[in-house]
Assembly symmetry: C2
C-alpha cells in the first residue's frame, strides 16, 4: 500500500461526501490494490481531522458505489472485482523514493473540517453581520492622515520595521486600550486582522489532535485557523447567557483541553453578553485546568445601552488570556489591522512566528490610523456610528415587534451591542434564508455557525450596514418570502 | 518521564547552546528524574528540527556542566547526584491529564532552526541589500492614487473581498507579468509580501521531516517559513553561476526531495544569474523526480545590462513551478504586497490556506498600486530607479577597482542586476563586518546567508539605498576599518 494522500475538495457538499471523493480518487490512483485493506476508520479520521462517524459514512458511500467492500468486524477493503475502466492503478506501486508522475505532486490535506466561506451575493438587501456601513466612513478625513504619512518621514516609516507593529501605532493603541477598554497591554502584536492572530495562536499552542474547546455556536473562521494547526474542536453549549460554564468544566475533567475560544462581549453569533458570574466561573475553571483562553473581542466599540464590560484580559492574574481584536469594524474590513495582547511569555514566540508568516503589517495604514486616533477623528466617527447603529437596531426591533403583533412567531433578545440580532423564526433557517435570497435578501442561517451543522431556527440579522428604510423594506421582503414556507416542527 | 517541552530561545547564539539551555530548563522543571534516561538523540533531533550532531553537541555541553551523565553505548541520563539547588523537580511528576501549574502553559517549539533577523542598526552608512532608496520614492504621485481609492467606490472596494486579491489589481498584475516578464499567470494569489507566499507553500507542501533543497548560500526568511512547517533543509552548492545542478541531481537520487527553492534571476545573496543551460538542467531533474520548484523572483525589475531572463515559471509545461515575487522593492518594503503565480491545481488549496492565515490583503494599497501601474507612473519610477541604481553600482565598482589597484585583495563579479554586490575580501567576513560597524558602516557578512553558518570571506554590499557619494565615503570607512584586521587564512 502506498502513502495515502487525501485531496479533500473544499466546497459546499457535506464533509462525508467530500471525504468519499478523496478516498475514491486515492483508490483510482492506486494507493491500495484490489482486495487490500485500507487504513482503519480511526486513522483516517485522525488524518482528515473529522469524526470517525463521518469517515464511516464516507466509506459506506463507497461501498454502495462498489469501490469498497465491507464485512462485519473486518477492515474495509478495496473491492476485489473492481471493474477495470474505473480502476487504473500504477502498473507497479511506486516506492516512497520513486519519481512521482510528471507534472503532478501531492499536497497536504487542506483540512476537510475547514468551513467554506458563506457566499455574499450582491443582493439588494444584505443583512450581513459584522459589516460596517462604509457609505458613512469619513474617507476624506482618513485620506488626509494617509497623505500625512506619505508626506513626512515616509523614508524611515515605510521600510522594513518592527515585526510587532509600527512603533507610533503601538503606543497609541496601548493608550487607547487602557483608556477605553481598561486593558493594560504591554505586549501588543499587530496582525493581519484577527484572522492572523487566531492562526498564530493555533500554530504556537496546538499540536495535531489537541482538544480545543469552542462555542458550539461560534465563529467558523477561528475554527478554520485552529483546525489548520490540527486542533480537534469540541463544541460547548451556548445558551441565552453565552457559554455554559458547566459544559466547559465537564470537558476539562474528561479531556486535556489545550485552548478555550471565547467571545465574551457579544457572543458570536448570538450577540449575548456573558454575565460577570459566568466569566469568573469560566476563568476559574481555566485556571484550575491550566487552559489558555483565546478571547475574541471583535466589536468592542459597538455597545449601545451602557459601557461594555471590560475584557477578560483586563483581569488576568494568571496570564491565561490571549486577547484578540481588530479595527475592521471601525476602520474598514479590508484594512487588515488586527492585534493581540498576550501574556509576557508568549510575546516573543508569537512575534517570531509572525516574522515567518508575514514579516510585518503595512506601516502606512497603521500610521494613518494612529494619527486619526490621536487627532480625535476616530472617536468622533465611532460616536456617530454608535448612534447610527443604535437607531438601526431600534428600527429592526420595531419591524420585528410589528410582525410579531401581526401573528408571526418571532422571538429574540435585543442585544446590548454588536452589529447583528439573533432571531428565532417559525421556519427552518436554511429554507428561510434560501427563500429570502430568491427575494433579493441576504441573511445567514443558524447552521452556518454550528460546529456540527444540523438544522436550526435562527437567523443572524446584521443591521449595521442598512439604513432604517432599507431594514424595513428588506424585512418586509424576507417575511413575505418566508410566509409561504411550512412551519418548522423543531 | 513527563512530556518534554523544549522552549528553545531564539537569539544569536549557536543552535547547540540554545538547545542545551532548553534541555537544561526542561530538566530543571523535572521532565525526567535524576538517573532517568532522556529521549534518544535521534528523537530530540526530530523534535527540535536540528541535525543529530547538534543534539549531541548540546548534550555533551550538559554533561560538561554536570546536568547529564553519559556512558559509551548508553542513553544520556539525568545526573543521579544532581545537587539540589540546581534541580527542583515537581514534587510529583504530573500525569498528562493533570492540571498544569497555574499561570503557565507550555507551547510548541518555535523551531530552533529558525534564523534570527540580522540587526539593522541605524548607522550612517548602510550597505543593506534589498532596500530601495525611499528618499527617491514619488510619494506625492502614489498618494494621489491612494486618495483616488478613498474618493470613489470605496464603499464597495474596502470591504471583505476576494481572498486571492483585489480584482482590479489582479487584472493589472496579470497584464504586467505577461508584458514585462513573459509570464502567463492565470492563477495569481496576492500575499503579505513574499514571506507569506513562502509560508503558505510550506504549509501546503511540507510535512515534518520532508527534505527541502535550498541554496546553501541563500535567503534565511524563506528557510524560516519552510522550517515552520517542519522542513528538513538540505543545502545545495552555489558557485559563480548559481545553483550547481549536479548537486541537486545527487540529492534527488538519494532522498525524496519535496521542494526546491531557487532564486534563478539574481541568486540571493550572490546576485549571479543562473545560465539558461543550468535552468534547463535543473528543471529536467525536478521533472524527473517530481520535485516542485519555489521560484523566488524578488527583484526582477532591477536589471541593468540587458533584459532579464524570463522566469522559469514562464516555461513550465509540467506545472512544477510556484512563482513568488513582491513589490516591496519598487513600491516600499512595508507595503506587504507580494504575490504568487501557481499551477492550476494548487490555486484552490493555497487560497483556502490564505483564507485561514490572513483572510485577504488590504485592497486600498492594491487598488492604489493598480492605478499607479495603469497610469504609467510605476514604469516611470522604475525607469528612473533603474538608471539610478545602475549608476550606484558603477560607483561602487569604481571604488572597489581603485582599492584593488592600490593593493587590497578584493574580487567580485559585477552583477547584471539586483541591488547588491557580492564581494570577496581578504579578511574574515564577520570580523570585517564588526570592524565596519564600529566605524559606522552596516554591512552583512557571508555567514548570515549560510545554511550552516561557518566562516566566510564575502560581504554582501547593498548599493541601492546609498548615493554615489555615500557609497564612496562608506567604502572608504569600511576599508580603513578592515585594514587593521589580520588577513584570513581561509
Amino acid at each position: 500500500m502506498r502513502d495515502l494522500v487525501l485531496e479533500i475538495p473544499a466546497d459546499d457538499r457535506p464533509v462525508y461526501l467530500r471525504l468519499a471523493q478523496a478516498v475514491r480518487e486515492a483508490i483510482r490512483k492506486g494507493f491500495a490494490q484490489p482486495g487490500e485493506a485500507i487504513p482503519s476508520t480511526r486513522s483516517l479520521a485522525r488524518a482528515a481531522g473529522v469524526h470517525r462517524h463521518t469517515v464511516m459514512a464516507a466509506l459506506d458511500e463507497l461501498v454502495a458505489e462498489g469501490w469498497l467492500s465491507a464485512r462485519p468486524g473486518q477492515a474495509y477493503r478495496v473491492e476485489p472485482d473492481l471493474p477495470d475502466p474505473y480502476f487504473r492503478p500504477a502498473t507497479k506501486p511506486a516506492a516512497r523514493s520513486a519519481p512521482k508522475p510528471q507534472g503532478a505532486f501531492p499536497f497536504r490535506i487542506v483540512r476537510s473540517s475547514s468551513r467554506p466561506a458563506p457566499e455574499q451575493p450582491l443582493l439588494p438587501y444584505r443583512f450581513q453581520g459584522g459589516l460596517p456601513d462604509l457609505r458613512l466612513f469619513p474617507a476624506d478625513e482618513f485620506r488626509s492622515h494617509v497623505a500625512d504619512m506619505l508626506r513626512t518621514g515616509f523614508e524611515s516609516h515605510l521600510t522594513y520595521g518592527d515585526v510587532a507593529g509600527f512603533t507610533p501605532f503601538l503606543r497609541t493603541l496601548g493608550t487607547y486600550l487602557r483608556r477605553l477598554r481598561g486593558l493594560h497591554a504591554p505586549h501588543l502584536l499587530v496582525t493581519h486582522g484577527s484572522q492572523e492572530a487566531a492562526f498564530l495562536v493555533g500554530q504556537l499552542l496546538i499540536s495535531p489532535g489537541d482538544v480545543v474547546a469552542v462555542e458550539a455556536l461560534g465563529y467558523p473562521p477561528t475554527w478554520n485557523a485552529l483546525a489548520a494547526a490540527g486542533a480537534h474542536l469540541v463544541g460547548l453549549a451556548v445558551d441565552e447567557a453565552g457559554l455554559v460554564p458547566e459544559d466547559f468544566a465537564r470537558l476539562c475533567s474528561r479531556r486535556r483541553v489545550r485552548l478555550l475560544c471565547l467571545t465574551p462581549l457579544h457572543q458570536y453569533p448570538t450577540t449575548v453578553t456573558l454575565p460577570v458570574a459566568r466569566r469568573m466561573e469560566i476563568y476559574r475553571i481555566a485556571q484550575k485546568h491550566g487552559v489558555p483562553i483565546l478571547e475574541d473581542d471583535y466589536d468592542h466599540e459597538y455597545h449601545y445601552r451602557c459601557q461594555p464590560l471590560p475584557p477578560l484580559a483586563s483581569e488576568d492574574p494568571q496570564g491565561l488570556v490571549l486577547y484578540v481584536s481588530t479595527f475592521s469594524k471601525v476602520l474598514y474590513p479590508a484594512a487588515r489591522v488586527g492585534f493581540m495582547a498576550v501574556p509576557q511569555g508568549l510575546f516573543k514566540p508569537l512575534s517570531e512566528l509572525k516574522r515567518f508568516v508575514s514579516r510585518q503589517n503595512d506601516s502606512l495604514i497603521q500610521g494613518a490610523l494612529a494619527r486619526w486616533m490621536e487627532e480625535g477623528g476616530f472617536s468622533r466617527h465611532l460616536r456617530r456610528m454608535r448612534r447610527t447603529y443604535a437607531e438601526r437596531l431600534d428600527a429592526l426591533v420595531a419591524v420585528l415587534e410589528e410582525a410579531r403583533a401581526s401573528g408571526v412567531d418571532l422571538s429574540w433578545r435585543t442585544p446590548d451591542g454588536g452589529m447583528a440580532l439573533w432571531l428565532k423564526i417559525p421556519w427552518d433557517a436554511e429554507r428561510a434564508a434560501a427563500a429570502a435570497r430568491a427575494s433579493g435578501v441576504l441573511v445567514h442561517p443558524e447552521p452556518l455557525y454550528q460546529l456540527r451543522p444540523g438544522a436550526g431556527r435562527h437567523l443572524r440579522l446584521g443591521f449595521a450596514n442598512l439604513t432604517p428604510a432599507e431594514i424595513r423594506a428588506g424585512m418586509k421582503r424576507l417575511l413575505a418570502a418566508c410566509a409561504r414556507l411550512p412551519a418548522s416542527r423543531q
